[in-house]
Symmetry: C2
Subunit: 202 residues, 2 copies
Amino acid sequence: MAAKPNKPDVAARAQLVEAEDRFIASWGRMGSVWGISRTMAEVHALLYITGKPMCTDEIMDRLGVSRGNVSMSVRSLLEWAVIEKVRLPGDRKEYFQAEQDVWAMLRAIARERIKREVDPLLDALDEIDQLAPQASKHSPEEVRDLQQRIEAVRDGFGVITTLSHKFAGPRGAGLQTAAKLLAKAPIGRAKKHPSKRKENRA
Amino acid sequence: MAAKPNKPDVAARAQLVEAEDRFIASWGRMGSVWGISRTMAEVHALLYITGKPMCTDEIMDRLGVSRGNVSMSVRSLLEWAVIEKVRLPGDRKEYFQAEQDVWAMLRAIARERIKREVDPLLDALDEIDQLAPQASKHSPEEVRDLQQRIEAVRDGFGVITTLSHKFAGPRGAGLQTAAKLLAKAPIGRAKKHPSKRKENRA
DNA sequence: TTGAGTTTTCAGTTTTTTGTGAAAACTACT
DNA sequence: AGTAGTTTTCACAAAAAACTGAAAACTCAA
């Protein structure tokens, strides 16, 4: 809105938008793999990649989704605390802006996922454990086996949870450092030839 | 099939089955959060929690799903390498048995998830990077910002990937130990009063 | 208090995912 | 080769999830 560039390097701008769109599409695909809606992920991607605050209408136009959908996606993202509301002086609309620190963002995502994935399972295991022992007088071996297996799962997830909380918790800057230390060859680091790095993942 | 217990402690057995069912249900719910089908997760849960090899018909009966569905779920689980085929002598049917080592199981799950979630994103980011730079002569700042953001995401996921591979890779026993060391108070460890542990997750 | 601008809600619709069941394919034995 | 037991495939059905759009609710300045 500020100014149309007088030198309309149209091709360059188009390519920028193209790159953005690709990023949005990829992030959106991830979203569906993670169990959040494609749109929600796309909104987040859009706000992150452009970096600037956007209002509902801009988001609708850019992503081609309905007002209702944007409203719901934005609400979830606010709950996740990966975007925030900003008010522009002299404008009644609400604008939204993404968390720009990737690690903070990743922590927020991790936190939500743990909340939704791991914690409920641990709670369920607790309940089940309270259910099973009552039978233990009668058929000892089977019950013991059952409990051992449940216990094993619980320990496993427990370790993961504890560890994750250290990363995802409010005081959770730690893992970034820890991770970088643990990872001998952190990541290709290629400044201009990123394709080489692919071997790391084959 | 071996023998009906002459003392039919019916109530005890019912409770055992009840506990199993609850475990299966919880695990199944997790499955849908992880982006695998509920049935696939349930089949896995059933095989893990009972520990014994089961054939298609037993699974169908116990979970109340169709033959086709069991066949497909089992195939995926075999691909994930969290269950294996066993042949019982003198029986033409195929039986399936779950990996009983929880850490091996968790690693297998993690491995698949990384493959499906992180790797595709990193690949996409590589592609996008190749797209964006071509515009750099014309509108430097915006392009630079875009590339920085993409790079930041890539670094973040890169670190996570590297770290995860150390855990999930074939030589990946490491994290269990690392995790236990890192986690000061590893996990409540309550032998008989597990409910106390809940505070760790509030 | 009004009303224009804006956001939220939600019943109904569309899209996507998952599950079924029966036919086809496979397997091992005779 | 024939065949009975078993598994796989896949067109279609059912269920779940996501999305739309318009009405209702909200907000704030006048």
